[in-house]
Symmetry: C2
Subunit: 187 residues, 2 copies
């Protein structure tokens, strides 16, 4: 952020009155430009026990496998965003289940949220951001070729909970290896 | 967004190649300016059964009561943000419990997340954004003077779950009255 997006004047970095953090402030129109973390929403789409994964056709992590997920947009709910991403990346229609993981990814300034999801049919296909889309049984998951830590953690927890016969919400900081997840609880 | 924040040139609204939504795009440097929903993090601070509320000293909803909450900042987790807001608005130190509510607030382009929280002592005080801070027993909650729907919904669900002896994660769209919450489940 170098210029004011409202009036085009070079911004100054300073702590606004009543604030305690440095922000980009416009010396001309007074606009304060806040920058905050973004939400990534996705699903764990399943059909007859198998999980759908997408091979990424875009950077970062081109060619690696991921659960369908992407940035939440304005004018949609997290539910709608998760379903939209599943359609865009994997051309799959799903019925959403409960929220399953909420991960802080502080290094990327993101929060990742994955919903459990049942595919309403075995139909799917590669969207423009995917090289390939496939259904994987647990034993066939390409663990060494997964794109993101939040994806591998979500899948591991999903299979663990499925084996235990009880799904729980999992939250935590995905980069805090010493105490991860921070909260994996039965309520 | 009228000017490019990278080079100060007036932006154009158009759909970038490979995208399907209109964005502010810079005709000079090519920067695409995405705007996404923001995360509001907060807590339900309790001490000996009472809940801490803050009387807002700022707009919107000046003079109304709220749970401590505010925009998640860069370089913090949702946990850290929730604890920071509780300190800034109510000068209270808390130990966080599980995530309790995740609400889509589409009209405000926000997602609100509240954690259960135990105060480590009965000490608290009004931060600069609060006119007053008080502990309320359930029967004394000022329901008609609460600042936000996500606060009243979170408090109602909290007291309901507490009475039932089992807390669950609640998610949903706070403005969808016909089917609210979308997901209130035992896991």
């Amino acid at each position: 952020m170098k210029f004011c997006s409202e009036c085009g004047t070079p911004v100054e970095k300073k702590i606004p009155e009543g604030d305690n953090k440095e922000r980009a402030v416009c010396p001309n129109c007074g606009a304060i430009h806040y920058v905050n973390p973004k939400i990534v929403v996705g699903t764990i789409p399943t059909y007859k026990g198998k999980v759908l994964l997408c091979k990424r056709a875009i950077e970062p992590r081109y060619g690696f496998w991921t659960l369908p997920a992407g940035f939440m947009e304005l004018n949609e709910t997290t539910h709608q965003g998760a379903m939209r991403e599943t359609w865009e990346e994997a051309q799959a229609k799903v019925e959403l289940g409960p929220l399953f993981t909420v991960f802080d990814v502080m290094m990327a300034q993101q929060v990742h949220m994955f919903y459990r999801a049942e595919m309403s049919s075995p139909d799917f296909g590669a969207g423009v951001e995917s090289l390939d889309v496939k259904m994987f049984a647990e034993e066939d998951i390409p663990w060494d070729e997964l794109a993101f830590k939040t994806v591998s953690k979500t899948l591991k927890l999903f299979f663990k909970d499925r084996a235990a016969g009880q799904y729980t919400l999992h939250t935590g900081d995905v980069f805090d290896h010493t105490d991860w997840p921070q909260s994996s609880f039965k309520v």
